[in-house]
Amino acid sequence: MTTPDLAVPAGPRAPRRRRPTFGGTAKYVSLVAASAIVLVPLLVVLLTSLKTEQEAATTGPLTPPGNWFNFANYLTAFQEGQMVQAFVNTTIILGVSTTGTVLIGSMAAYAIDRFEFRLKKLVMSLFLVATLVPGVTTQVATFQIVNDLGAFNTRWAAILLYLGTDIVSIYVFLQFIRSIPISLDEAARLDGANSFTVYWRIILPMLKPAIATVVIIKGITVYNDFYIPFLYMPDSELGTVSTALFRFKGPFGAHWETISAGTVLVILPTLVVFLALQRFIYSGFAAGSTK
């Protein structure tokens, strides 16, 4: 093998490898097989998205397209599938709800960790217990509340729900804020700073790594969410990438070349973000999902 092994800094000559070890071959066979299982369904969709209508109907899924630069289906998906509107809606919802989540979550964590007040234990346990309640179970009743607020079929429905049901981010901030020394606050206080100045000038800038984690987790969750926009924003003008793509099922029915193009369009931004932020994403999800 002449390929440089970038993945393992220790170099390919680590002594352990030489010894015939448990699962030496099985290891690579299983890794390659699993990677194929992950990649093949995705690649086939990419192939299909580049085929003409004729090709898609007559050739098998594994046959490559005649012209690798046939982007006509992407144009159709963009224009007729209302994908531009969908990306705009998603961006608005994403921007407002990630900003809101960061502010709300960090403020709650600041209040809980840095102040002494009555009912603090109760507030803490309210946030804690809420992590145990899965969102899907309460949707029937949540729907009525959103409806009563007049937010049904507006972007506010999604934004409010993303802000209101995100307890994990408060938890991530809380864990992190504990590691910021209190002496920093105290020094600022002695200089006459009030609590908001301390939060805004000292705590928030120190929280940067936690903010990155929360923005990544929140961003990917909101971008991928189907349930909330589907249930609360049925208006086609308000389609997000998930619901706009879901609507492809109707008009494009068996037009797999167009559906595939839409699917690739939705996956592409995720792939770019993933490749750019890999390291943060792994640790972010490890921190977020174990709470």
Partner: protein, 320 residues
């Protein structure tokens, strides 16, 4: 100014846990904690608490309320029907048999955990293209659910990707992957494994990497092979996170919604409990009955979580 006076009257600030701190510190600390007025923390908590109550606790209360009525979700009036919804739920077998579907997903999630353990272990040791493999296996977790649904609708189609691949391998029979009630849930559960295995793997990897390396060296000096190292070093160290995964697997299997809803709409016997609840509430306007079934689901999930906390007490997982 009344707030300030009130604050002053409250007596000494609660003693902080700063046992070995220099003598100056407690005095300083007391001053900072007493400087603020009583309502200052509540200003920061106002919005988060309002949202928490409005979108978590109020819905739970409402749900209990609706579950004893025959409300249809639109009409201004509703009758109190007592436990009738719950009785209906437990006595009409077709409403309860959806839990059998959860069983298929549960079995699949054990396959998923086993695979994740294998790959996490393999990738913790020097392996060529380690980061590449890790990236490929994790990536599906980040992909949009609707996109996954379409990718696999095409994959399982008659004459689609899977059939073509099987043809290449010499199998020419036709299986209705999504049309056959005996097969549909297995196919869909397979999609779940495809989607979530990488997340489990990354969680396990994180836990395995926090094991100090000298343990392996000591073990291999003692002549332990890889299996013995896994059995006696890795497995015990990551037990808490495995138990967490099992819990998430159980509650996840009860709450499956997205993929089957997108791919089959619950047809051919792939209806899950959540799809049924959503349909009851929003398609058949039976908010009362839907609320009762949501209460049952919530109770089941809380029960599972509670059992886990009893079985694996105090072993909080600390990653990162």
């Amino acid at each position: 100014m009344t707030a300030l006076q009130k604050d002053r009257k409250r007596g000494p600030a609660p003693a902080h846990a700063a046992p070995a701190a220099p003598t100056k510190k407690p005095a300083l600390r007391r001053r900072t904690t007493r400087r603020h007025r009583w309502f200052t923390p509540w200003l920061y908590l106002l919005i988060p608490l309002t949202l928490l109550v409005a979108f978590t606790y109020l819905p739970i209360l409402d749900m209990f309320g609706y579950s004893v009525t025959d409300w249809d979700g639109v009409s201004p009036t509703s009758e109190n029907v007592g436990a009738a919804n719950y009785t209906e739920l437990f006595t009409r077998p077709e409403l309860f048999k959806v839990f059998l579907v959860s069983g298929v997903y549960l079995v699949a999630s054990f396959v998923q955990i086993a695979a994740a353990l294998w790959f996490a272990t393999v990738l913790s040791f020097d392996t060529r293209f380690r980061n590449l493999f890790k990236g490929i296996l994790f990536f599906p977790y980040l992909v949009n659910g609707v996109a996954i649904g379409f990718v696999f609708l095409y994959f399982f189609q008659p004459g689609g990707t899977l059939d073509s691949l099987l043809n290449l391998l010499g199998y020419h029979g036709r299986l209705m992957w999504l049309g056959d009630p005996d097969l549909v849930n297995k196919s869909l559960a397979g999609v779940s494994v495809w989607r979530y295995m990488g997340l489990n793997m990354v969680l396990f990897l994180g836990a395995i990497q926090s094991i100090p390396g000298h343990l392996y060296e000591a073990a291999s000096l003692d002549g332990a092979n890889r299996w013995q190292q896994f059995r006696h070093i890795i497995a015990p160290s990551i037990k808490p996170i495995i138990s967490l995964s099992v819990i998430l697997a159980i509650s996840g299997s009860l709450a499956v919604f997205e993929i089957p809803y997108i791919m089959t709409g619950g047809a051919n016997g792939s209806q899950t409990f959540v799809i049924q609840t959503v349909n009851l509430a929003f398609k058949f306007d039976k908010v009362g009955l839907a609320s009762a079934s949501a209460v049952v689901l919530l109770a089941l999930i809380l029960l599972v979580t509670w059992i886990q906390r009893r079985l694996v007490p105090e072993e909080r997982v600390e990653l990162s």
